[in-house]
């Protein structure tokens, strides 16, 4: 049972435009969410996080939005750059075990 879902396996965006990556979760007890970015042949790297007490967190070109009632979060990248092309994983922390639960990832391609 996939508790964290990224329903779009891939996304293609033109350079300079906004990229929006979506993530849905089923466990209303999740209280902390993270986004990781992964290039081929490399391990994931932490990108940005958000606590459930907030609905938005911004860091430069990256903004994460959380809609608790919809159990939905999204990562916005604006403006998108070719170097942003990677696989993006959404993850949530299980409150009882502090275990990190990942989605299946969305492959973002930013073209010139």
């Amino acid at each position: 049972d996939q508790q964290v879902k990224q329903n779009s396996p891939s996304l293609s965006v033109q350079e300079g435009r906004i990229s929006i990556l979506n993530c849905d979760y089923t466990n209303s007890m999740f209280d902390y969410f993270l986004w990781y970015k992964k290039y081929p042949a490399e391990g994931p790297t932490f990108l940005i996080s958000i606590s459930s007490i907030k609905d938005k967190n911004e860091d430069g070109r990256f903004t994460v939005f959380l809609n608790k009632s919809a159990k939905h979060l999204s990562l916005h990248i604006v403006p998108s750059q070719p170097g942003d092309s990677a696989v993006y994983f959404c993850a949530a922390i299980s409150p009882n075990t502090d275990k990190l639960i990942f989605g299946t990832g969305t492959r973002l391609q930013v073209f010139p």
Partner: protein
């Protein structure tokens, strides 16, 4: 190289053989995690070490999987009698581990070991 290193980078083995995967965390990092990513799947938690002890082994898929960590540093993940469904990329991550929850913001991942079981 101050990052997390893993060896081998690729491993091809025959069904039924045992394999050992190695992780060298960043020096001074007390927390160490193993994950795997199967084709088309997200990262799946396997085991978490704090120092040499493993307070959470709940992600190990079967008793064929085991892991140890010695000297609070290097960790090995052993898969006995490998099966084709064990084929995946096995990722190791380390962090300062001041608290497990906080450490996720500061996890450093290795490049992974791609295991293929024929």
């Amino acid at each position: 190289g101050a990052g997390v290193s893993q060896s081998p980078s690729n491993k091809v083995t025959e069904k039924g053989k045992d394999v050992e995967l190695r992780c060298d965390p960043i020096s001074g990092h007390t927390a160490l995690y193993w994950y795997r990513q199967s084709l088309g799947q997200g990262l799946e938690f396997l085991i978490y070490f704090q120092g040499n002890s493993a307070p959470d082994k709940s992600g190990l898929p079967s008793d064929r999987f085991s892991a140890e960590r010695t000297g609070g540093s290097v960790s090995t993940l052993t898969i006995q009698r490998t099966q084709q469904e064990d084929s995946a990329v096995y990722l190791c991550a380390s962090s300062l581990g001041l608290s497990r929850r906080v450490s996720y913001n500061e996890q450093f991942f290795g490049p992974g070991t791609r295991l293929t079981v024929l």
